[in-house]
């Protein structure tokens, strides 16, 4: 597989499985282990859900461009959309320990992304949109 590898998908829930396959193939080609691949799959899924639900909420539909590239010790994934700005600071902190009846389920997606990836950077460029850059490093051997 040649890197970088870029593909564009419609920003809709029906693309989730294809995006998942695309990043999984890249992660396998780079040699991430199964646990790391699972982390990548989940983080990318949550990021795409965010784009579809928030950046493209309402009338402004658009695409999700996904790029995968090799970095020194792992995989870099860049997701671009042309939707509304996403501010990660505006997302509530996840509630991870209150009892069932009080459990608030907001903020889990961002919590997953931050915990599963080694580097996460959100940027917004007026006129073009959001760029989310994530890096997953290989687990050191031994």
């Amino acid at each position: 597989m040649d890197f970088p590898k870029t593909e564009t998908f419609p920003g809709a829930g029906s693309s989730l499985e294809a995006i998942n396959t695309f990043v999984t193939e890249a992660a396998q080609a780079i040699g991430l282990d199964e646990d790391a691949i699972f982390g990548v799959q989940l983080a990318v899924e949550e990021a795409c859900d965010n784009i579809i639900e928030h950046a493209y909420a309402g009338a402004s539909k658009g695409d999700i461009e996904c790029s995968c590239d090799i970095v020194t010790d792992g995989l870099k994934i860049v997701l671009r959309d042309s939707g509304r700005p996403f501010d990660p600071e505006s997302v509530p902190k996840p509630d991870l320990d209150s009892p069932l009846e009080e459990r608030d389920i907001g903020g889990l997606g961002l919590h997953f992304i931050k915990n599963l990836m080694d580097e996460v950077r959100f940027e917004f460029f007026p006129g073009s949109g959001n760029v989310l850059t994530m890096v997953k490093r290989k687990t050191p051997a031994g």
Binding site: G13, L16, D35, L42, E45, L100, L108, H111, F112
Partner: protein, 111 residues
């Protein structure tokens, strides 16, 4: 995602396979609703063939758990949870909110 449901004497069993994501969780939500609408609140979910779950799927399960546990009338019990699916539950802080049994026989027998 695919699913089958089975009505047992003391509970209902849902066997789910494939991906539980923001798309398919809407379909799975209707499956839970159909059971709950019949005032049946003891539900076992066999997760053995679940390949992937996102926070949207977790959200669906926690909502079903809240509904079923209300007034102590029942509970959602999970069986055969694959390792990676369990790690998503763990990351969400959901492990203490569900009884997780090693297989369907134990889960069904617990009601």
């Amino acid at each position: 995602m695919e699913y089958t449901t089975k009505r047992l004497k003391h509970c209902d069993l849902i066997q789910v396979s494939g991906r539980i994501d923001s798309q398919t969780s809407q379909e799975l939500e209707k499956v839970f609703e159909a059971i709950i609408e019949e005032a049946r609140f003891k539900i076992v979910v066999d997760m053995s063939d679940v390949e992937f779950i996102s926070s949207a799927g977790l959200r669906l399960l926690i909502n079903a758990q809240k509904t079923c546990k209300r007034l102590d009338r029942g509970e959602v019990v999970l069986a055969n949870v694959p390792k990676r699916i369990y790690s998503a539950f763990d990351l969400a802080g959901f492990v203490p909110l569900f009884r997780i049994e090693k297989d369907v026989v134990e889960a069904v027998g617990s009601f």
